[in-house]
C-alpha cells in the first residue's frame, strides 16, 4: 500500500459520561443530611440564641464551671483507656486469627463479628444482669461464701471500662486483622534465619509491620468511644458521665441548642484532632485499607521508634527465657490460643446470659432461673407497644438497607471504574459518617428535621440511618468490586452488550454476594440504631432499640431479656447469612 495518509483527526468524539456521576446520589444525600446539619450545628455553637449574631457565650459557659471541663476530661480518659485495653486484648486475638488458614479464620471470625454487630443495648443489659448488686456474679460469690458483701462492680469506673472494652474489642480486631493478614510471614522466618530470636523477629519485624493496623484500630476505638452514652448511662455512676450524655440532656431536657452545639463541636474537634495527629504519623489511608502510600514518620522519630522496639524485644526475650525454661516450649506455644480463647469467651459469654433469663418463670431477674417458662415472650408478643416497635424497626431497616445498598453500590462502582484524582477525597467523604461521632450527626439531623417536619416520621429515620449505613455498604461493595475482573465487562462489551446490560447481566450477578452482605449489614446497622432514634422517633413512633432504652431507664424486667434474645437471634442469623453469601462464589 502506498497511502501517505495524514494523522489528522478533527472529528468531535461523542460525549461519554464519567463513571463518577454514579456517586452523585450519595454525594447529594450526604451533603444535605450529613455535612450540612453537622456544619450548622457548629455554626449554632457560635451564635447568640436570641440575636443570631456571633457569640462565644456557649463556649464561655463551658469554661465558667468546672463541670464541663471535668466531663470532657472523663470522656477523654475513658476513651483513651478503652482504646488501650481494646488493643491489649485485641492484638493477641487478631494475631492468632491472622495465622489461621483462610477457611478456619472465616469461621472463627464469627466470634468477633457477632459481638460486633450485637446491639450495645443488649450487651449493656447483659452486663447489668451480670455485674449488678444482685447480679449473677455477686449471687455466685455470696452464695459460695467467698464474699460477705456484694462487690461494687457496676455504676463505677470498673463497670464502664468492662462495658466499653467489651464493646470495642471487636472493632479493634477487625481493623487490625487486614493489616496482619497482609504481612508476609516469610519475613519473620527470614529474620530468624538471619539470626533473630523468635522474640526479636516478632517485635522488630511483625509488630513493626502491624503498627499501622494497631494505630488505625486505636484511632477508630478512641473516636467511637468519645460518643458513647449507653454504657456510661447504665454501667457508670455519676462520676463517669460522658460528653454525649450531656449533649442528650441539653437537647432533650433543656432544649439549649447552641450549648448542645458547642458541646458537639468540642467532641467533633476532639475526633478531628485525633484523626489529624494520626494522619501526620501514619497516613489516613491505612484506616480505609487502601494501603500505605509510603509515608513514614521520618528521621529521628523513626529511629527512636526502632530503638524502642529493640528495647522491648530485649526485655521480652529476658522474660521469655526463664519462662520457657520453667514451663517448656510447649507451654509457650499454648499461650496464644489460650489467651485468644479467653478473649473470645469475654466477647461472647456475657451476652449469652440473657438467654436463660429470658426463659425464666420468675417475676424477677434472678439467676439461675427457678424454672422454665415462655411467659416473657408472651408478654413481648402480646404487647402492642413492643410489637409495633418491632415492626417499625423491620420496615425502617428494610428501607434503609435498600437505599444504602443502591446508593453505596453506585458510589463503589463510580470509585472502582473512574480513576479521577478526586477518588481519595470522595471515598473519605463517604466514610465520614463513620468517623464523626453519631451523637453529633443525630443532634444536627434533629435540628434540621425539626425545621422541615421530619421529626417523628419514618422517612426521617430512614434518611438518618441511611447516612450511617452508607459507609458500611460502600466498603463492603468496594471490596468485592476490587477483586472483580473488569475484563469480564470488556468481554461483554466486545460481545455486543451495552453498559446497562453488562451491569445487570454480568457485574451484578457476579458481585451478588457482596451486595446481599452490604444489604444485611445496612439492615443490622439500622435495626440496632439508637442514637438517631432517640431524637427522631418521637412519641408512638418508636423503634425497637428506642423502646428497649426507655424500658431500661424505667425498670429492668424479664421482658427485656426476651426482647434481647429476639434481637440477638435476628442479628446473628442475618450475620450468618451475610457471611455465607459473601464467601460463596
Amino acid at each position: 500500500m502506498t497511502m501517505a495518509l495524514s494523522m489528522t483527526d478533527t472529528s468531535p468524539r461523542p460525549w461519554r459520561p464519567s463513571p463518577l456521576w454514579l456517586a452523585v446520589p450519595g454525594f447529594v444525600l450526604l451533603v444535605v443530611f450529613f455535612a450540612f446539619p453537622v456544619a450548622r450545628l457548629l455554626v449554632l455553637s457560635v451564635q447568640d440564641a436570641q440575636t443570631g449574631g456571633f457569640s462565644l457565650a456557649s463556649f464561655a459557659r463551658i469554661t465558667t464551671t468546672d463541670v464541663y471541663i471535668r466531663v470532657l476530661g472523663i470522656t477523654f480518659k475513658i476513651a483513651g483507656y478503652t482504646a488501650i485495653f481494646s488493643l491489649l486484648l485485641g492484638y493477641p486475638l487478631a494475631y492468632w486469627l491472622a495465622r489461621m488458614p483462610d477457611a478456619v479464620r472465616g469461621r472463627l471470625l464469627l466470634f468477633v463479628m457477632v459481638p460486633f454487630w450485637t446491639s450495645y443495648l443488649v450487651k449493656t443489659f447483659a452486663f447489668m444482669l451480670l455485674l449488678g448488686r444482685t447480679g449473677v456474679i455477686n449471687d455466685l460469690l455470696l452464695g459460695t461464701g467467698i464474699v460477705s458483701q456484694p462487690l461494687p462492680l457496676i455504676n463505677n469506673e470498673f463497670g464502664v471500662m468492662v462495658g466499653m472494652v467489651h464493646a470495642m474489642v471487636p472493632l479493634a480486631v477487625m481493623t487490625m486483622l487486614p493489616v496482619m493478614t497482609g504481612i508476609d510471614r516469610r519475613l519473620v522466618q527470614a529474620a530468624q534465619t538471619l539470626g533473630a530470636s523468635p522474640v526479636h523477629a516478632f517485635w522488630l519485624v511483625y509488630f513493626k509491620l502491624s503498627l499501622p493496623g494497631v494505630a488505625a484500630a486505636g484511632l477508630l476505638v478512641f473516636i467511637s468511644s468519645l460518643g458513647f452514652f449507653i454504657v456510661p448511662a447504665f454501667l457508670g455512676g455519676r462520676r463517669e458521665t460522658m460528653l454525649a450524655q450531656l449533649i442528650i440532656a441539653q437537647v432533650q431536657e433543656l432544649l439549649n441548642w447552641s450549648f448542645a452545639g458547642a458541646l458537639a463541636a468540642m467532641m467533633l474537634l476532639a475526633a478531628l484532632v485525633s484523626c489529624w495527629v494520626y494522619d501526620r504519623v501514619f497516613g489516613l489511608s491505612t484506616v480505609t485499607g487502601q494501603g500505605s502510600d509510603g509515608k513514614e514518620a521520618s528521621g529521628r522519630l523513626r529511629l527512636a521508634g526502632l530503638a524502642l522496639l529493640h528495647g522491648l524485644a530485649s526485655v521480652c526475650a529476658l522474660i521469655a527465657m526463664p519462662v520457657n525454661r520453667l514451663f517448656g516450649p510447649r507451654a509457650g506455644r499454648a499461650m496464644l490460643p489460650a489467651v485468644s480463647w479467653a478473649v473470645i469467651a469475654f466477647l461472647v459469654a456475657p451476652t449469652l446470659i440473657v438467654i436463660p433469663i429470658a426463659f425464666t418463670s420468675s417475676q424477677f431477674l434472678e439467676f439461675p432461673p427457678p424454672g422454665f417458662s415462655l411467659r416473657w415472650f408472651e408478654t413481648y408478643f402480646s404487647s402492642p407497644l413492643w410489637v409495633q416497635a418491632t415492626v417499625r424497626s423491620f420496615l425502617v431497616a428494610g428501607a434503609t438497607a435498600a437505599a444504602a445498598t443502591v446508593i453505596g453500590g453506585l458510589a463503589a462502582l463510580a470509585l472502582a471504574r473512574g480513576n479521577s484524582r478526586w477518588n481519595g477525597a470522595i471515598f473519605a467523604f463517604f466514610l465520614a459518617p463513620m468517623i464523626v461521632p453519631r451523637i453529633v450527626i443525630a443532634v444536627g439531623l434533629f435540628y434540621l428535621f425539626a425545621q422541615i417536619g421530619l421529626v417523628a416520621t419514618d422517612l426521617g429515620l430512614v434518611i438518618g440511618h441511611t447516612v450511617l449505613a452508607i459507609p458500611f455498604t460502600l466498603v463492603t461493595i468496594a471490596a468485592v468490586l476490587k477483586s472483580y475482573d473488569t475484563r469480564l465487562d470488556q468481554a461483554a462489551a466486545t460481545l455486543g452488550a451495552n453498559r446497562l446490560r453488562t451491569l445487570f447481566l454480568i457485574t451484578v450477578p457476579l458481585v451478588k454476594g457482596g451486595l446481599i452482605a452490604a444489604f444485611l449489614f445496612a439492615f443490622i446497622t439500622s435495626f440496632d440504631e439508637l442514637t438517631i432514634a432517640i431524637f427522631v422517633s418521637g412519641g408512638v413512633k418508636t423503634t425497637l432499640p428506642k423502646q428497649i432504652w426507655d424500658d431500661m431507664i424505667l425498670q429492668l424486667n424479664p421482658t427485656l431479656a426476651a426482647v434481647s434474645v429476639v434481637v440477638f437471634a435476628i442479628v446473628t442469623v442475618l450475620l450468618l447469612v451475610a457471611e455465607r453469601v459473601r464467601r460463596s462464589p
Partner: protein, 365 residues
C-alpha cells in the same frame, strides 16, 4: 490519491479491493507517554495478521484501539470502508479473545457461547442451533452444561474461541490467547486456531510476544517496537530480510556484525571488529556502514568462505533436534552457530573458524 482525498472518500487499497480493516493515523497518548505513535495499517479480508513485539511495544494498545476498549488520541479506523472510529465497543462487530479468556463464571459454557447471540436478539431456536455448532466446532459439544471453572485451561480456551466465532464477527482479535497454556497445549491450539481460520475464512488479528508462534501462524507479521510498526511482511520475508537490527534480533537468533563500508577492489565490503566481510549481492552500499545479520544455521565450521569468524568455543547447547555452539569472538562478542548434521562436535575451549555464504546474510542499516 492524496492524503485528504484518502480520508474523505472511501478508502481503497492499491489493488482496488477494499481492505477489511484500515487504520489511518491511529494513535494513543496517556499524558506525556505515547502508547502508540500514529500508525497506518491495512488488513485484507481473510488475512491472518500477527502483531508481534516485546511488552510495551504498543501491540496491545493497537488491539484495544481496534476494538474500541481504549479511546484514540488521533486517527481513524475503517471496517469495510465504513468509518467506525466513534462506534462504541458493543456495536463494532469485532470479536476479541482475551488473554485469560474472560469467561463469565456465573454462566455455563453454553450460556457463555449464547451470550453474544442474545445480545443481538437472535431467536431461541437459532441460538441453540448455533451454540451447538460452535461448541462442536471446538470439540466441546458434550460440555455445554458445565461451568467454566471446572474446565481445564485448554478447554476454557476453546470455549472462548467458540464464544467469539459463534456470532461471526467481521474481524476477530486475539490478545495472546495461548499465553497461559503450557508448551505442548500451545502447539496443539495453534493448529486448532489455524484450522478455525481456514474453515471460517475470517479475518484474524493476533497479538503475541512469541516470535515462534508468529512465524508459525501468520500470513503477515506486523513487528512492533517503541510504540510503532518496525516492519511488516510475510514470515519468511521478515526472517530472511529483516530491515532493522531490532527485527533481526527479535525474530530468530541472529549474529549481528556491525561495521563501516570499505571499498576493496571496487566492491564495497563491511569492515567489522571481527573481520572484513562481503555484502549480499543485492545490497548497495549507501551511507557510512551498517550491520550484517547471519543466522546460526548459515554458519558452518570450517566452511571455505571469504566471510569467516574465529573464536573459542565457550558453550555447547544440545536441544534435541539441533546442537548449538557458542563461540567467544573476543571483545565481549559471542557468535551462535548451529552444528550441521554429521559435523563433529567441537570441544569447549577449542578454537574454531566458521564461515557463511555472503548471500545468506542480510544487511541492515
Amino acid at each position: 490519491m492524496t492524503a485528504t482525498e484518502m480520508i474523505h472518500s472511501t478508502p481503497r487499497s492499491v489493488g482496488g479491493a477494499m481492505p477489511k480493516l484500515l487504520i489511518d493515523g491511529l494513535s494513543k497518548r496517556y499524558g506525556n507517554v505515547t502508547a502508540l505513535e500514529p500508525t497506518q495499517l491495512a488488513v485484507e479480508k481473510g488475512e491472518f495478521l500477527t502483531l508481534l513485539g516485546p511488552s510495551g511495544s504498543g501491540k496491545t494498545t493497537l488491539l484495544q484501539l481496534i476494538c474500541g476498549l481504549v479511546e484514540r488520541s488521533s486517527g481513524r479506523l475503517f471496517i469495510d470502508g465504513v468509518d467506525q472510529s466513534d462506534t462504541p465497543v458493543h456495536q463494532r462487530d469485532i470479536g476479541l479473545v482475551f488473554q485469560h479468556y474472560a469467561l463469565f463464571p456465573h454462566l455455563t459454557v453454553a450460556e457463555n457461547v449464547a451470550f453474544p447471540l442474545k445480545m443481538r436478539g437472535c431467536a431461541p431456536g437459532e441460538i441453540s442451533r448455533r451454540v451447538k455448532d460452535a461448541l462442536e466446532m471446538v470439540h466441546l459439544g458434550h460440555l455445554g452444561d458445565r461451568f467454566p471453572r471446572v474446565l481445564s485451561g485448554g478447554q476454557q480456551q476453546r470455549v472462548a474461541l467458540a464464544r467469539c466465532f459463534v456470532y461471526q464477527p467481521s474481524i476477530i482479535l486475539m490478545d495472546e490467547p495461548l499465553g497461559a497454556l503450557d508448551k505442548k497445549l500451545r502447539d496443539h491450539m495453534q493448529i486448532e486456531i489455524k484450522r478455525l481460520h481456514r474453515e471460517t475464512g475470517t479475518t484474524i488479528i493476533y497479538v503475541t510476544h512469541d516470535q515462534e508462534e508468529a512465524l508459525a501462524m501468520s500470513d503477515r507479521i506486523c513487528l512492533m517496537n517503541h510504540a510503532r510498526i518496525e516492519q511488516i511482511g510475510a514470515p519468511h520475508e521478515i526472517y530472511t530480510r529483516p530491515r532493522t537490527a531490532f527485527a533481526a534480533d527479535f525474530i530468530g537468533i541472529s549474529n549481528i556484525f556491525r561495521g563501516e563500508f570499505v571499498h576493496d577492489a571496487g566492491r564495497p565490503r563491511l569492515a567489522t571488529p571481527h573481520g572484513i566481510f562481503n555484502l549480499p549481492e543485492d545490497v548497495s552500499a549507501t551511507g557510512k556502514g551498517g550491520a550484517l545479520v547471519v543466522r546460526p544455521e548459515h554458519l558452518r565450521i570450517g566452511a571455505a568462505s571469504p566471510n569467516r569468524i574465529t573464536g573459542a568455543v565457550s558453550e555447547i547447547v544440545y536441544a534435541g533436534s539441533e546442537t548449538r555452539v557458542i563461540a567467544d569472538l573476543g571483545g565481549g562478542t559471542q557468535a551462535i552457530l548451529r552444528l550441521w548434521p554429521g559435523d563433529p562436535v567441537p570441544q569447549i575451549g577449542e578454537t574454531i573458524t566458521a564461515g557463511w555464504d555472503a548471500n545468506s546474510a542480510a544487511f541492515v542499516p
